[in-house]
């Protein structure tokens, strides 16, 4: 039996022997890495550095080699072999991945959680080695609401609560009113959002104190900018997409020119344009709020991308749809509004969601016109003399916030994509 061990491949006849040898090798391989990473103990100090460095990999490789036996009947063993140990190359990749996880997760976790400081209210309260989440705690309201007065922040909360409730309530609309949903979401939402932002967040009437847009900021500004840019760039994008497919040369080429121009320049130069060039183009003495200018710039920029998304939907529709609509005697507008667009837009909902995602990720750039959303507020907070050296915590926090938003949105759009693709 021992002789077989060295001459033949691991096989099912001496399963127990091979598996126990393999597990012992694997155990020592992982133990070595684990102790080294957590307690800084080198089990193999008596070897030279070079051997000691590669020993866990060699041990693990032998271990995985010994347990690579096909169809043992043991579900656990078979799953391991199939998923992470199918070839020698795969076993090496598995080992390297595990070693990297074991090596790098303890310091990361201890910085993020175990050694982190959360109690207190000044920088001096951060005595541990880990992250200083006190910084986030103290500045949290600024990161969310910018310089919006503390006493008035309920207005932002209420506005967003109403907005999200009305979006959420779409799911509970009874079946027979579903037909009105699209017109509601194209006309109703923008109106609600505009009224909320104009009267509730901006204020100035109904006894609410007026808050200038320069004080707006933080995450709420990210939402305001991206939401407004989305609802404006959507209709413009549809018109541009129709224009690009028009048979009239002037309309076609001016649409192409518009789309390709905005797609060819970076957003930051567009914002530069809105900051320094735009005031020159307006009649002397007119003043335009910088938030409005930023929203116009982002809208122009994103509408070109939206147009390309919508065009994808228009192109995907079979020609028969156009012919059928024409044969019913519908004109250009009725054909597009009643037959073509409802189908084309449904096709590109995932694309629209992706454009929105890109839009949200682009909003931090509004620092160019002097507006501070969450990344900008962190830049402001980290240069505060009392809170120097807190850049890492700030950007990790902002990154986490954006990640949660963007990841859930992208998952939602993927689900939508799956759902819609099966329906057709």
């Amino acid at each position: 039996m021992i002789k077989n061990l060295f001459t033949t491949k691991p096989n099912i006849r001496s399963l127990k022997l091979y598996v126990s040898i393999g597990l012992i090798f694997l155990f020592f391989s992982f133990l070595d890495v684990f102790l080294n990473s957590l307690f800084d103990i080198n089990l193999t100090f008596f070897f030279s550095d070079f051997i000691s460095f590669f020993l866990p990999l060699t041990l693990g490789y032998i271990g995985f080699y010994s347990i690579r036996i096909e169809q043992t009947g043991n579900i656990f063993l078979d799953t391991i072999n199939k998923k992470i140990n199918s070839t020698s190359f795969n076993s090496v990749l598995t080992l390297l991945s595990f070693f990297a996880i074991i090596k790098y997760s303890p310091p990361l976790l201890s910085w993020l959680v175990f050694d982190a400081n959360i109690s207190g209210s000044t920088k001096e309260d951060c005595t541990g080695d880990g992250a200083c989440w006190v910084f986030i705690k103290v500045w949290f309201k600024r990161f969310m609401y910018g310089m919006y007065p503390n006493a008035e922040q309920w207005r932002i909360n209420t506005a967003f609560l109403i907005l999200f409730t009305s979006i959420g309530s779409v799911y509970f609309v009874p079946e027979k009113y579903k037909n009105y949903l699209i017109s509601f979401s194209i006309l109703g939402f923008p109106l609600i959002a505009f009224l909320l932002i104009y009267f509730l967040i901006s204020g100035g009437s109904f006894g609410l104190e007026w808050v200038e847009t320069g004080a707006w900021g933080g995450l709420s500004l990210t939402f305001i900018v991206s939401f407004f840019a989305l609802i404006f760039c959507f209709p413009i994008g549809i018109f541009l997409a129709l224009g690009r497919r028009s048979s009239l040369p002037v309309i076609k080429y001016s649409s192409i020119g518009f789309i390709e121009f905005w797609r060819g320049v970076p957003l930051i130069t567009v914002l530069f344009m809105s900051a320094v060039m735009f005031p020159m183009f307006l009649p002397d003495g007119t003043y335009m709020d910088k938030l409005v200018r930023a929203i116009i710039a982002i809208t122009l920029f994103e509408s070109a991308y939206m147009a390309e998304v919508v065009r994808g939907g228009l192109q995907a529709l079979p020609r028969g749809q156009y012919d059928a609509a024409k044969s019913l005697g519908l004109g250009y507008w009725r054909m597009n509004l009643l037959i073509i667009l409802p189908q084309a837009l449904k096709l590109v909902i995932p694309g629209i969601a992706n454009t929105f995602l890109a839009l949200i990720k682009d909003t931090p750039l509004i620092f160019v016109v002097g507006l501070l959303e969450i990344a900008g507020m962190i830049g402001l907070a980290k240069t505060n003399p009392k809170w120097l050296g807190m850049a890492t915590e700030g950007y990790v926090f902002a990154g986490a916030v954006f990640w949660v938003i963007c990841f859930s949105l992208s998952r939602y759009s993927q689900n939508l994509e799956k759902k819609l693709s099966t329906e057709r």
């Binding site: 598995t94 991945s97 320049v265 130069t269 931090p364 750039l365 990790v396 954006f402 963007c406």
Partner: protein, 384 residues
């Protein structure tokens, strides 16, 4: 019919009138505004003395040079970081994209995590993280991270040896000659394959060409290469810094890191989609006519996968180039910072400078998308 024709003319005329009146309105206002402020429109300022310094430049530049030269410095810096970013994002993207298709569960999950992690955080935040958090945590020059006494990584930047060539022009021309001969080898091999049915080992021949020609330049042409290593020197009592070598500033490192990590996720998705897009039947059919595994990959899978991968990937390269304008946020002297930032502050010529900047990016975009369209036409499946 007549009415319809007129109607279509009418709508086009209205469109033209609308566009002309919008442009006219803007031009008129701009004229009035500039008259009021005593500025005149023109590009003559480009030849004036710029009189500001740029921290990092690929070509000789000093404050006494013209604004046009400053523009060139900015443009070259933009192109430099774009090329570095494209290089690394392609390598990382291809590895991660293949890893996402790995049969190994853990490798696949790590690759998925990579994509979902870097894709869903705004690029600007990643840039800030690398610049303000990660690279600021590097040691001071005196305790710099030492790579075999050849290069040093510190908070002031990454110091690498400088290449000092003698007779560099001969070396460069030998490389160009190598590339040209590879082109001819491939053309010859293709002709032989199509006309005479002979297989010529084009890959080994071209490797030979690219290695032999520069080596001849070294041996015969009098080309030699030496290195100027960075050395830690004491500047004053407490300040140490490196002298010699080439310093890669932290701004460039942060920008290249952020751009290549962010864009690599998109390229990984393209690579994955491309490989998945080649049907299983294709591989099986290729194997059944007796091609070896490497031949299947080289002749059947890759040409088809590349056809799917390359157009969206070129788009990502374009995005990367445009995103490199975020450099302005961390003060890397790219086109936007140097020209649309500093130069505009000094001259106050908003319209001219922003237009030039936008047109530059537009030209790059149109050039690249033009090239892509040409390539697409070339590789498109020729249907009968």
């Amino acid at each position: 019919m007549f009415f319809k024709k007129n109607k279509s003319y009418l709508s086009q005329i209205i469109t033209i009138l609308l566009i002309v009146s919008i442009f006219g309105f803007f031009t008129f206002n701009a004229q009035v505004n500039m008259d009021n402020r005593g500025i005149d429109f023109g590009f003559s300022f480009l030849s004036q003395e710029a009189s500001f310094d740029i921290q990092f430049s690929l070509i000789e530049y000093s404050g006494s040079d013209s604004y046009f030269r400053a523009y060139l410095v900015g443009l070259l810096n933009t192109l430099l970081v774009s090329v570095i970013g494209i290089f690394f994002c392609t390598i990382i993207g291809v590895i991660v994209g293949i890893a996402r298709l790995s049969p190994n569960y853990i490798v696949e999950k790590i690759a998925t995590f990579w994509v979902e992690f870097f894709r869903n955080i705004p690029l600007l935040l990643q840039l800030f993280f690398w610049y303000y958090a990660a690279l600021r945590a590097l040691p001071l020059p005196i305790d710099a991270i030492n790579f075999n006494d050849i290069s040093y990584l510190s908070v002031k930047g990454w110091y690498v040896p400088e290449f000092i060539w003698t007779n560099s022009s001969i070396f460069y021309s030998s490389i160009i000659a190598g590339v040209v001969s590879i082109f001819f080898i491939y053309r010859f091999a293709k002709k032989q394959r199509e006309d005479a049915g002979k297989q010529i080992p084009a890959l080994s021949l071209s490797l030979l060409a690219i290695i032999t020609l520069p080596s001849i330049a070294f041996l015969v042409g009098g080309v030699s290469l030496s290195f100027d290593y960075p050395v830690l020197t004491q500047m004053s009592k407490t300040i140490y810094n490196f002298k010699g070598g080439v310093s890669i500033p932290p701004e460039l490192m942060a920008l290249a890191l952020a751009l290549s990590l962010y864009t690599s996720t998109f390229i990984a998705e393209n690579v994955r989609a491309g490989i998945m897009g080649v049907g299983k039947g294709q591989k099986e059919a290729a194997a059944s006519i007796g091609l070896t595994t490497s031949q299947v990959l080289k002749l059947v899978v890759l040409p088809q996968a590349l056809r799917i991968i390359i157009p969206p990937t070129t788009n990502q390269y374009l995005n990367l180039t445009k995103n490199s304008s975020l450099a302005a946020a961390i003060a890397y002297p790219d086109l936007v910072l140097v020209f649309a930032g500093t130069a505009m502050m000094q001259t106050g010529r908003a319209i001219e400078i922003v237009s030039i900047t936008m047109l530059t990016y537009l030209t790059i975009s149109l050039l690249i998308s033009g090239l892509m369209n040409w390539y697409n036409k070339k590789v498109a499946i020729k249907e009968k």
